[in-house]
Symmetry: D3
Subunit: 306 residues, 6 copies
Amino acid sequence: MKLGFVSAILPDRTLAEVLRFAAEAGYDCVELMCWPSGKADRRYAGVTHVDVRDFGEAEARQTGALAASHGIEISGLGYYPNPLAPEEGEARVAVEHIRNVIRAAAMLGVRQMNTFIGRDWSKSVESNWPRMLDTWGPLVDFAARQGVRIGIENCPMLFTGDEWPGGKNLATSPGIWRRLFADLPSPNFGLNYDPSHLVWQQMDHLRPLAEFASRLFHVHAKDVRVDRRRLDDVGILATPLEYHDPKLPGLGEIDWGAFISALGDLGYRGAVCVEVEDRDYEQSLESRQTALRKCHDFLRPHLPRK
Amino acid sequence: MKLGFVSAILPDRTLAEVLRFAAEAGYDCVELMCWPSGKADRRYAGVTHVDVRDFGEAEARQTGALAASHGIEISGLGYYPNPLAPEEGEARVAVEHIRNVIRAAAMLGVRQMNTFIGRDWSKSVESNWPRMLDTWGPLVDFAARQGVRIGIENCPMLFTGDEWPGGKNLATSPGIWRRLFADLPSPNFGLNYDPSHLVWQQMDHLRPLAEFASRLFHVHAKDVRVDRRRLDDVGILATPLEYHDPKLPGLGEIDWGAFISALGDLGYRGAVCVEVEDRDYEQSLESRQTALRKCHDFLRPHLPRK
Amino acid sequence: MKLGFVSAILPDRTLAEVLRFAAEAGYDCVELMCWPSGKADRRYAGVTHVDVRDFGEAEARQTGALAASHGIEISGLGYYPNPLAPEEGEARVAVEHIRNVIRAAAMLGVRQMNTFIGRDWSKSVESNWPRMLDTWGPLVDFAARQGVRIGIENCPMLFTGDEWPGGKNLATSPGIWRRLFADLPSPNFGLNYDPSHLVWQQMDHLRPLAEFASRLFHVHAKDVRVDRRRLDDVGILATPLEYHDPKLPGLGEIDWGAFISALGDLGYRGAVCVEVEDRDYEQSLESRQTALRKCHDFLRPHLPRK
Amino acid sequence: MKLGFVSAILPDRTLAEVLRFAAEAGYDCVELMCWPSGKADRRYAGVTHVDVRDFGEAEARQTGALAASHGIEISGLGYYPNPLAPEEGEARVAVEHIRNVIRAAAMLGVRQMNTFIGRDWSKSVESNWPRMLDTWGPLVDFAARQGVRIGIENCPMLFTGDEWPGGKNLATSPGIWRRLFADLPSPNFGLNYDPSHLVWQQMDHLRPLAEFASRLFHVHAKDVRVDRRRLDDVGILATPLEYHDPKLPGLGEIDWGAFISALGDLGYRGAVCVEVEDRDYEQSLESRQTALRKCHDFLRPHLPRK
Amino acid sequence: MKLGFVSAILPDRTLAEVLRFAAEAGYDCVELMCWPSGKADRRYAGVTHVDVRDFGEAEARQTGALAASHGIEISGLGYYPNPLAPEEGEARVAVEHIRNVIRAAAMLGVRQMNTFIGRDWSKSVESNWPRMLDTWGPLVDFAARQGVRIGIENCPMLFTGDEWPGGKNLATSPGIWRRLFADLPSPNFGLNYDPSHLVWQQMDHLRPLAEFASRLFHVHAKDVRVDRRRLDDVGILATPLEYHDPKLPGLGEIDWGAFISALGDLGYRGAVCVEVEDRDYEQSLESRQTALRKCHDFLRPHLPRK
Amino acid sequence: MKLGFVSAILPDRTLAEVLRFAAEAGYDCVELMCWPSGKADRRYAGVTHVDVRDFGEAEARQTGALAASHGIEISGLGYYPNPLAPEEGEARVAVEHIRNVIRAAAMLGVRQMNTFIGRDWSKSVESNWPRMLDTWGPLVDFAARQGVRIGIENCPMLFTGDEWPGGKNLATSPGIWRRLFADLPSPNFGLNYDPSHLVWQQMDHLRPLAEFASRLFHVHAKDVRVDRRRLDDVGILATPLEYHDPKLPGLGEIDWGAFISALGDLGYRGAVCVEVEDRDYEQSLESRQTALRKCHDFLRPHLPRK
């Protein structure tokens, strides 16, 4: 396996700076953010380390060369919008830009792009399903034709009342993944697996690995702490951030040795990318880089360099 | 403490039959259902053992005498509608009938009625709050004037997609109870505490007892089993019956000895009423009576007759 | 589901006495032992409540009528030899008699027989496999033609040094069941599931239920206690009875409510038969009948009569 | 093993009545209280079912015959004073009366008497030790000469501020037992083992059994509930009854199946006597007898009659 | 929050050396020991980094400037005697010197001093209470007038037989804190919270944080290991060091991420000061400095520099 | 205690290189491998850092001086063959070479050699016992005469089908150690205790320490991860590597702080030697040295340099 990080945490660094930092800190790879350049409206969103809008052979060659010159692999291209947003314009932009990311991945030879399924959060899973199929059938086909794999992150995108009750991403549980892969059975359609989201959903984050082994395309390393005191006060019917906090790997409840061992036993050989979403480490570029260095040092013993 | 049951499980028995059965099975008391006579539309709802619509001195005397003749206490009158239903007519009927139940309780000298706060389940807690205050301020005042205590059961009334996402009762957690009792501080306003609902909400069902000791007016004894296999598949964002089952006391996860000890330590001396909601025991009158007998025998050692 | 017991515990009672006792004790069904009449050489073996050697239409009618007259169902016919015994004669007798049991089950309309796969205990699973296929392919075909299902009990038949190291039954774990059903995929070939054997093998006895739901033909209710003190002294490399004891359901470590709920959720509607193998209850007919009565009373609340 | 109870819970019944009740309730044996007749000053103390003060051949014959006529064995004679009380007169009376009890046990052929070591509760274990040896050396010798075994109950006799800080019995822990048996190595000196006292002392109540197997002379079956809420508030430096409650076997935290299995594995074949010290069951003779019946029914499956 | 250490572990270093080391090791602050200069009689006691006996404006200015020059904050002044010592002279000296420390804190603008309540360890909490009120009423008033907060550390000061049975500090549990703050309700009177003392008292060290949030003035980071083997041998009635060992943070049983998260959630923004009391790290100045460096590196990820 | 490592992990380094690396990495000592020089046939076997075949005074002086010059102690000489191999020649070579190692240890003044008991893995413990006594009686005598202690490692040497069913070393459990030390009671015969082997045998790895305190001659620090998913599939009757993986200390399930504290409490002051057997760290010399450095840094806080 390769140890990397998600570039969203370094929004104000150039691609070259991100790659140089990755190399210095000892990482093997990076997942590069590819939001449409412009203003972001959500934490960790809207970061553009690869501008895929007018991405041609030249840009591909140049980006690839830059990464190679730092000895850093690109584990995937990432773009995490809501392609099923209730506001149709927002959904259309997302879908169109996902195609751009897929195309860029193909040109780069990376062959992995990561995103969300999306959801109209005011509606049930059932009600979202027909539109989901309409939207994703063509996207999955397109990716397959380009030889690119789509990794859906299993984040419910439900934090506070703003996304209540359903969250902005349908792909939250094994039950739903099973249905997704039954209805869209392409081998190019899989998961960008983040164990932390299963923890606060009170689920075993190791158990699904065996069943979905062939769908494990990319892995995010984020940790989480469920606060018993707060949960005892509000219960699971409250919004999730009322009772849990995202943490750096090693500062939460996940046993990373067990998780990475389980991945390895199942034959996973891909990227494990640290995703820094810990409010304690967001104040400054320095503290975010400190976070990435700590995470590298914590995870590396479980993922030794060969 | 006194051991009783909720009469809703014997809908087709007359009041006299319910009381006779209670005495034979060894119970101390019964919570009597007081739905408006007529058709029910929900399991365990719509049961009328005391018809409070035209309930005068004569009816009170007669009902009291009947109970006394069997040596059975009436622990409370119960009526569990949705007084904050989005359909205004439904809410109006519920509120009006709650007043009837309160009035009847006062006449009977029972001084305890149990119900739900209600909720427009499509809206957040916050959005329901102003209407809740408008509805419940007058009801609580009325109960106080009548010398009757209102016990709100802490059931979220969220089972399947029909009540998704919010459920039909706001009073689901200590955090919300705290706010309820701060905004409506009458000593006649409290809880009909059912520990099982906290279990599937992933909450400690013992911890709130100390803080809300003065609000513990009535207790329901129902048990619950959270099915790890199903929960691991769907997570807490699914609807609750996808991963848990109500059970008879003793057939679920609650340690009843610990629960009843904790109640006793806090000075609770009121009723503990078995609420049978276990699909395995609904087929026939016989199986429901069997269930009540089993529950008596299971709980009695923790609540010995003095 | 139906609550029954395995008749092996009443070896000295006639079939009529077994059925009468079952009815009096409140059971729904019985698994009847069908060993060749003659001398037994192992505890609980060699019991003959139905003599299947010369079993014709007349015997079938008579046996069925007897059961019906007591209102007791026959959940299956049981015969548990070692059809892969190293001594060829022993294996041949076992295989031939299994055919007799199948034939009798078909004639009785019971359509369920339970047995072991067998094993040469001095050889590895791998080395036993070819002979297993040779032996069982024809048996499974025969059962299918007769319309009878074979339920293999998952007991390792490894207790002391006598069966060391491999035990006398190959079908011990989900990994082996998976291979068995892949190599002999007949729908008439499945499991007689006994959770207790998984407990002392340090395995989760609930987890396999979902995967093998379509293979759950019959269930044994036996419990077990792993003795930490003894296990800490000898470890799992010792022979199993050095560190565990079979117990009556309710006197061991299994949570029977959870187990039976899990069976029910998966759609199992068949028999759950108490298997008494608890040294504390073997002294006399009276103590064995006491055991069966206790087990009935303990399990019945989880399996209510409809 | 034999199932019995401690007669202290029936202080107002005659010996004949105690024995008759034991037989009716299904018990095998009873530990009979032998306090000096007169007034008691502590709960459960001061009960006299056998008056050992002027106990001769005639009384022995009569008592033995009475027990035999009900088919009840006498598991031991019990008298639980403080033989190391700071007030010298109290200690002297205790020591003298212990001799009487030993003598009576010998005459009855019971050969088991149970008591406490005692303690000056204001002094450390160390400071009590020399006087303990002076007192107990002769007592143990006397018992040995009489062929009677002394079983010291391991109750710390520390409940509230009255016995603070040391309690009225030195024999509270394996560390102290080890020292006792090293300094007074007579084979007639052992334990009347009550697992509940180890539970609230935060100790494993199964672990000492193996080491002290040869000292297990008699067993008390009492249960206990440690109240986490209260313990979290006061900690172990508070007096013990501030955070725990004695309970009937089966209503507390002890796994009786595991405890009795462990005893059996170690070869214990003696008495297991229910000691009722549960405030919920003290109101009346009826409730105390109910308690004894419940305890019998709960424990009997683990101790089947042969 | 700020990460610091308690200066008692560097008794032979000058204030300047302590501050320089703190800066080099990466700490934010230090709690400075202020014992009367002279001989100490207890481990970690008697250390004088600020001599408050003749502490005037000049000393305050100089001390403050020294700290500022190293970029190290003074989190509080510490002095931990027994102000309720049975020997009156000892108590008088303690009380008088506490006033000196308060005065010095005020002059330094630190406004935080930490100490013990004290106790006559041979007497019950109850018996100590009147003298406690007499002693502490004036001290708390004095601190309030000086604008200084007193933080009482919750260490029972009970280790071996020397302090048996009561220990030298009354403030050991939430139940006692509640009473302290009820009887002396000044907002300048609070806690110097050390979670490790709750662990060996078998208490939840997170639960009290919410109730006492407004009293959390200062925090000590010490860890602890309860030795199950030794505890199983001696039980909680033994003296505490018979079954537990103080450890460096990270080498014991406390989950520091959870503890510091809980503090943060409750709004605590003050100092968390490592207290080194681990026999493995006391041999030499070098090993004690190593310990402080390890603790910094272990705790810093949970308390990132802003 | 002293922190060391087992030199087998650096097979291609010379003794001087091993010692230099140990010193640089901060270790206190090393266990040196002494296989007969020549070809090895098992992972980690066949390593020769001290060639004991023709080991005289000169070699002893030279080896000792080399170690001293790097400030590294030799904790023991190690050689782990199968002295009870079924093939007689293999066993004879092993026994003869063990004598060589003992002789060399004596000459070096190390006085500790570590090895296995061996086993004919196709036979039961019982059947191996007589030959074991014949082989080991003389060896233990020889060691005693030389003043050297033999530390038997408690590894079952059972990994896959090759060593099935018994493994190549009898000394696997406390029950067997007890018998070994009863039959060969020399004080020069003891254990080289490796806690990891008890973990996958489902045993408590702390509990035996007290009983065998006087037999703890040497300690190996290896960790282990039992994979629940795989164990649930195959059970303990499978071969051990089907469900567990050896890991570096800190990457497995052992709580090293608790283990080392327990050793220290019992008076152990000897070597704790890291044994690297983690497939993730075997690719290259660099990764193996990285592993040793990580292990040092992880364990050192629990074993501080004095």
